[in-house]
C-alpha cells in the first residue's frame, strides 16, 4: 500500500463529506432514473424526445449563455476599475460587489419584481414622466430572468477576473500604448488575451451556477420561462414522475461535465504560465 503523506490526510473529512452528501445521493438518483416506475432506459428516451423537456433544455442553455455573456462582460468592466481604479473607485466597486452577498437571493428577485413589473417603479415613473405610453413587459419573460440572474452572478465573475487582472504587469500595457496603440486596441489585443484564463474561469463559474438556478427564474419568469431546475422540481413535487426528474438531472450532469471537460481541454494550452 502506498504511503499517504500526512498533509493529504487533511483532505479526508472533506472527501468523506462529499461522498456522503453528494456522491451517494447522486448514485441514488441515477438508480431512480433506471428503475422508476420500472427498470430500463425508458425515462431517458422520454427525456430526450419529449418536446417540452427539450424546449426547457434549449431555453436553459440559451438563458445561461446570455447570462454568462452579460455577467462576464459587465464584471470585466467593473473589475478593471476594481483593480486599476483610483482608491475611491476601488472602494466603491468593492462595496458594489460585496453588498449583494449580504442580501438573500429571494429578496433580490422580489426587488427586481418591484422595479420591473408592469406596475413597478420603472414603468410607473416612465409613464408619469411621459417617456412611455404603455408599460413595458420586463418580467414574466426571459428578459426578467436574465436581468435577475446576471445581477446575482456578476460578483461571482468579478473574483476570477480580478485575480487574473492583478497578474498583468502595468508596464506591458504602457509599452503597447507607447507604441501608438489606441486604448481599445490595448484592451482587446493585449489586456483581454492576457486575462483570458480569468475570463474563461469566470464564464465557467457563471454558466455552471446559472444552470442550477431555481428561485430567480421561478419568480421573475412567472412560470412562463421554466428552466431545467424548475422543471425537475415540478416533476418531483407537482406532477410526480420521479424517474423522469432523475433522468433529466442525470442528463444535465453529464452534459455539464462533458462541456467542462471539453472547455478545459481546449483552454489548457492557451493559458499562459
Amino acid at each position: 500500500m502506498p504511503r499517504i503523506s500526512r498533509p493529504a490526510l487533511l483532505l479526508v473529512p472533506l472527501l468523506g463529506f462529499m461522498v456522503l452528501t453528494y456522491l451517494v445521493p447522486f448514485l441514488g438518483i441515477v438508480q431512480w432514473s433506471v428503475t422508476l416506475p420500472e427498470p430500463g432506459l425508458d425515462q431517458y428516451r422520454a427525456a430526450l424526445s419529449d418536446p417540452l423537456v427539450l424546449s426547457v433544455f434549449l431555453r436553459t442553455f440559451r438563458i445561461c449563455a446570455v447570462v454568462t455573456a452579460v455577467s462576464v462582460a459587465s464584471a470585466d468592466m467593473i473589475t478593471v476599475l476594481w483593480v486599476r481604479g483610483s482608491p475611491a473607485q476601488r472602494l466603491a466597486v468593492e462595496l458594489c460587489i460585496l453588498i449583494p452577498f449580504w442580501i438573500s437571493v429571494l429578496t433580490r428577485a422580489f426587488g427586481w419584481l418591484a422595479l420591473l413589473s408592469t406596475k413597478g417603479i420603472l414603468n410607473t415613473w416612465s409613464q408619469s414622466l411621459g417617456l412611455l405610453s404603455e408599460p413595458l413587459t420586463m418580467v414574466r419573460n426571459e428578459f426578467g430572468v436574465i436581468v435577475g440572474m446576471a445581477h446575482f452572478l456578476i460578483p461571482f465573475a468579478a473574483f476570477p477576473l480580478a485575480s487574473a487582472m492583478r497578474t498583468v504587469d502595468e508596464r506591458i500595457l504602457l509599452a503597447a500604448r507607447g507604441m501608438g496603440a489606441s486604448r481599445s486596441r490595448v484592451f482587446f489585443q493585449v489586456f483581454v488575451p492576457m486575462t483570458a484564463a480569468g475570463i474563461l474561469g469566470a464564464g465557467l463559474v457563471v454558466f455552471v451556477f446559472a444552470l442550477g438556478f431555481f428561485v430567480t427564474p421561478a419568480i421573475l419568469g412567472g412560470g412562463r420561462s421554466v428552466m431545467a431546475a424548475e422543471l425537475i422540481y415540478l416533476r418531483v413535487f407537482q406532477s410526480p414522475n420521479w424517474g423522469l426528474a432523475a433522468a433529466i438531472s442525470v442528463v444535465m450532469m453529464v452534459g455539464v461535465g462533458g462541456l467542462l471537460a471539453l472547455l478545459m481541454r481546449q483552454a489548457r494550452p492557451a493559458v499562459p504560465k
Binding site: I172, G178, M179, R183, Q189, A196, P272
Partner: protein, 356 residues
C-alpha cells in the same frame, strides 16, 4: 538607415508632484536629434518620473515639452509613439517573438508584406534568427530584452526611451547588451533616452549624461565632462570614487590657487573651477609614497586597510584630522611589507583636483 527620423525634445521647467511630494523640480533640458542621453541618479531621484513624462505616461504638473520645436505637453502617449523598453521587458506573453515585433507595425497599419519583411529584418538585427516562433516565456532574459529592443525599434520611432533595461541581467550579459544598444544607436541614429542608476553604464553608453538628485537636474554634460568637472559635490561623489579635502586659507592668483589642508600647504593649478571650500581629487590620480615627496601636493596619512581586488588593490586611509581617503593602485606596484597602521604619504599632481 533611416537617419532623418530622429527627433529633438525640449523640456522647459518641468515639475511633477505626487500629493505633497515633488518628484521633479523645474527640470529644463534639450535632448538633441540623434543624441544618446542617459538620465542617471539614485533611486527616487526623479529620473524615471522624467522619462515617464517624456513618454506621456505621466502628465507634468508644470512646465512644457516640445517635439522638434512644436508643443507636445498635452499630447497623449499613443500620439507621441516613442519606443519604450522596460526593465521587466514588458513583452506580450500571449504573442510569439514575431507577433510582438509586428504589433507596432500593425498599429501603424502597414501592409502584410511590409510587416513580414520588417519583422524578419529586426529579428536578424538583434540576433534572434530561429527564435521567431517562440513565446517570450521560452527565451532567456537577455533574449527577451533583445525582443523588446526589436519591437521598440521596428517602427522607426523618432525617440527610443529605455527604463533601466539591463538592471535585471547578470554582469556579462549586461555588457553584451550595452554593446548591442550602442551599435543599434549608431546604426539607426534615433534619439535614445536611457535611464539607469549604474554610473559606469551611463559613462560607457552616452553622448551626454543628465544627473538627477531629489527631483533636481544637477548637471548635464558629456561623460568625460561630468566625471572630470563635476558641477557639485553630489555629482562628484555619485560618479566613481572621490576624495574630498576640506580647505582653509584659499587664495587665488594668476598662476593658480593656494590653500591649506590640515596645516599642509597645497598648490592647485590647471582647471580646478571656481575656488571653493573643498578640493576633490579622484583616487586614480593619487599615489602612495613611503616618504614625503619633493614636489607636487602630498599629505600624511595612516593606512587603515588594504583590499585585494586582483590586478588592483584598494587602500583605505585617514589623515591625522580623520578625513577619510581612498586610493587604488596596481597590486604589482604595492611597496612590500605594507601593512595596516603604516604611516605613509599620499601625493598627487598640482593640476589634478577640483574645487567644490
Amino acid at each position: 538607415m533611416n537617419k532623418v527620423k530622429a527627433a529633438e525634445i525640449g523640456a522647459e521647467g518641468i515639475g511633477k508632484t505626487f500629493g505633497t511630494f515633488a518628484a521633479l523640480k523645474d527640470v529644463s533640458l534639450t535632448i538633441g536629434r540623434g543624441e544618446f542621453l542617459t538620465l542617471l541618479g539614485p533611486s527616487g531621484s526623479g529620473k524615471t518620473t522624467f522619462l515617464m513624462v517624456l513618454a506621456g505616461f505621466e502628465a507634468a504638473t508644470s512646465g512644457h515639452l516640445t517635439l522638434d520645436g512644436a508643443d507636445m505637453t498635452g499630447m497623449p502617449a499613443e500620439a507621441r509613439a516613442f519606443g519604450m523598453v522596460f526593465q521587466g521587458y514588458a513583452l506580450f506573453p500571449h504573442m510569439t517573438v514575431e507577433q510582438n515585433i509586428a504589433f507596432p507595425l500593425k498599429v501603424q497599419g502597414r501592409s502584410t508584406n511590409d510587416i513580414t519583411r520588417r519583422v524578419a529584418e529586426m529579428v536578424e538585427m538583434v540576433g534572434l534568427g530561429g527564435h521567431g516562433h517562440k513565446r517570450p516565456s521560452g527565451l532567456s532574459g537577455g533574449q527577451q530584452q533583445r525582443v523588446a529592443l526589436a519591437r521598440a525599434l521596428a517602427y522607426d520611432p523618432p525617440v527610443l526611451l529605455l527604463d533601466e533595461p539591463f538592471s535585471a541581467l547578470d554582469k556579462n550579459l549586461r555588457g553584451q547588451m550595452q554593446d548591442e544598444v550602442r551599435r543599434l544607436h549608431r546604426e539607426l541614429g534615433t534619439t535614445f533616452v536611457f535611464v539607469t542608476h549604474d554610473q559606469s553604464e551611463a559613462l560607457a553608453l552616452s553622448s551626454r549624461v543628465a544627473i538627477f538628485e531629489r527631483g533636481v537636474l544637477q548637471q548635464v554634460a558629456a561623460p568625460k565632462h561630468v566625471y572630470e568637472r563635476p558641477a557639485n559635490r553630489f555629482v562628484a561623489e555619485f560618479l566613481g570614487d572621490i576624495n574630498i579635502l576640506p580647505l582653509s586659507d584659499v587664495t587665488t592668483s594668476g598662476s593658480g590657487s593656494k590653500a591649506t589642508f590640515e596645516g599642509q600647504s597645497l598648490q592647485i593649478t590647471g582647471d580646478p573651477g571656481a575656488p571653493g571650500q573643498s578640493l576633490a581629487v579622484r583616487p586614480e590620480h593619487m599615489a602612495l609614497q613611503m616618504t614625503a615627496p619633493a614636489g607636487g601636493n602630498a599629505i600624511a596619512a595612516n593606512l587603515r586597510d588594504l583590499t585585494y581586488l586582483g590586478a588592483q588593490t584598494q587602500l583605505t586611509l585617514s589623515t591625522p584630522g580623520n578625513v577619510p581617503l581612498m586610493l587604488s593602485m596596481p597590486t604589482a606596484a604595492l611597496p612590500s611589507g605594507l601593512t595596516p597602521n603604516a604611516q605613509v604619504w599620499v601625493a598627487w599632481p598640482d593640476d589634478q583636483g577640483r574645487f567644490l
